[in-house]
């Protein structure tokens, strides 16, 4: 017993001593290397093809940054709606085999439709631009949430399920005490996947009809043939994605600290 305790005590101390944040040196070196290569390339290639960092920087200062907030708000709202919808439907399909049998093929069908088609449908079906964008994002992201969550629910260990059942829980308790916590890692992974998907899709959706947002900014930059501005918007998109992923990773580390 003492040996056990000694081993576990060491483990606990080691985990407590674990550094919570690790400086991403390799990533930073890689990005700086790429930036340097870009700058060198810009010295030999005309600026309307590869603009240097000073041009991109100048463009960054002139961009309407409220467009960034608008795009972010669209993504955030659409992801929350998609998650709620995906989770709700996953719970329904989990509870009813018939619902899953009928629902699964429909979800697969939705996932097989290309994003461009959804954008065209949105333009044809809806008049209000914000609704068009939200529709495209939700119809693309909600099925991903649904499938990821449902698969994770179906994958909950039978051993744990039997253990819990031996204590005679209610159906609601099985959900709240076992199924939902066991599904949390898959939910967070799904958020990460959908976040990058949504940021890419929203830009395309904003190309059609919107008069605000990064997608619209890109259209304007293209019409003005301002390559530096296109790069500046792209840079913002990439930084946004990195930042959002970093936030999600921190959330994941916090919520899943129980994992080995």
């Amino acid at each position: 017993m003492k040996k056990d305790e000694a081993i576990a005590s060491e483990t606990v101390e080691a985990l407590e001593a674990r550094t919570p944040f690790r400086f991403p040196r390799e990533m930073l070196v890689g990005l700086l290397g790429l930036a340097a290569a870009w700058q060198i390339l810009s010295l030999f290639v005309p600026p309307f093809i590869v603009p240097g960092w000073e041009r991109i920087g100048k463009s960054l200062l002139t961009l309407p940054l409220d467009f960034v907030l608008i795009t972010l708000a669209r993504v955030a709202v659409a992801l929350v709606v998609s998650f709620a919808l995906g989770l709700g439907l996953a719970m329904m399909m989990y509870a009813s085999t018939a619902a899953e049998r009928y629902g699964r093929p429909l979800v697969r069908l939705l996932m097989a439709v290309p994003v461009v088609c959804w954008i065209l449908f949105a333009v044809l079906w809806f008049k209000w631009v914000e609704f068009r964008i939200a529709f495209v994002l939700v119809v693309v992201c909600a099925p991903v949430f649904l499938v990821d969550i449902l698969d994770a629910m179906r994958g909950v260990s039978r051993d744990l399920r039997d253990m819990l059942r031996s204590f005679r829980p209610t159906r609601a308790q099985v959900f709240t005490k076992l199924v939902l916590p066991a599904t949390l890692p898959a939910m967070l992974t799904s958020w990460k996947i959908n976040l990058s998907l949504a940021i890419r899709v929203v830009t395309i959706a904003e190309l059609v009809g919107a008069v605000t947002g990064i997608g619209y900014g890109l259209v304007v930059a293209q019409e003005l043939f301002s390559v530096a501005e296109v790069f500046a918007w792209t840079l913002i998109l990439v930084v946004l994605l990195f930042a959002a992923e970093a936030v999600l990773t921190r959330v994941e580390e916090r919520l899943l600290r129980w994992r080995v």
Partner: protein
């Protein structure tokens, strides 16, 4: 072996369980007409080789599976049909600890109390008391992956005992641990079950473990039938080695021995 009747009395009558193989549909007999009774507060070890239906029997007793024929009752109620009636009166310890990995040791122990709707303060108080009793007071905030196998199994024991069940079941609960840890945990299990007055059933494939429990030993043969019903307490300590050899022989031959298996009505 007549005993006290009470909420923890187990009565097994003509119990039969047949599974059907996936694909072929061929029937496989897992339990074949079991008849025995376990008195309230008794301690019984079920021993048998792999595939003799021990775990199937335990699943039926927990209420996770239903008999094909016959009947199992605990305190007059059937665990499968009267599933919810057993809330708070039945607890099981499994082969693997089956702790919820996202919960700390104390949160795992308080889980059944949460399910039963106890107040949070009471949950913590009782869970903490049991962890302390099992020597894990310092580790209440540790997650399962931070604990050794023996410690995790002790948390699982605490989780089972915390609801003060009438019926306590253990399915190969100590078999995967090293010998020293297993012996210590087994002793803890027996002592706690005796102190708390639980009816306790320990399923094992290890003969030593079954005899060491020091209670009744039910020897299961293949397919799922009772070869012998032995009260180890009736055997003088000097003859236990001989008893072990007899049981070993029965298991190998898969046949019972009239000396150990009294008629059904006497057993009841």
């Amino acid at each position: 072996m007549a005993g006290v009747k009470g909420p923890g009395t187990i009565e097994v009558t003509g119990l039969r369980k047949v599974f059907h193989q996936t694909g072929t549909g061929e029937p496989v007999v897992a339990l074949d007409r079991l008849d025995f009774t376990v008195a309230q507060g008794d301690m019984v070890a079920i021993v048998g080789q792999t595939g003799c239906g021990k775990s199937t029997f335990l699943n039926i007793l927990i209420g996770l599976d239903r008999p094909t024929e016959g009947r199992v009752t605990v305190g007059g109620r059937t665990p499968y049909d009267d599933f919810d009636d057993f809330r708070g009166s039945l607890a099981a310890v499994f082969q693997q600890d089956r702790l919820l990995p996202w919960r700390t040791a104390i949160d795992n122990v308080r889980l059944p109390l949460e399910l039963l709707g106890h107040q949070p303060d009471e949950q913590l108080l009782r869970a903490r008391a049991w962890l302390e009793r099992l020597g894990l007071a310092r580790f209440e905030r540790a997650y399962p992956h931070e604990l050794s196998g023996g410690m995790r199994q002790r948390v699982a024991l605490a989780r089972a005992f915390v609801i003060e069940p009438t019926l306590l079941l253990a399915d190969e609960a100590f078999g995967h641990l090293d010998e020293v840890t297993a012996a210590a945990l087994r002793q803890t299990f027996v002592e706690l079950a005796k102190t708390e007055g639980n009816t306790a059933i320990l399923v094992t494939h290890q003969l030593e473990e079954a005899i060491d429990m020091g209670g009744r030993v039910l020897v299961f043969g293949r397919p799922g039938r009772l070869l012998a019903d032995i009260d180890v307490r009736a055997w003088p300590a000097t003859t236990v080695a001989g008893l072990r050899a007899e049981i070993q022989r029965m298991l190998q031959d898969n046949t019972g021995d009239a000396r150990f298996t009294p008629p059904a009505k006497e057993r009841a």
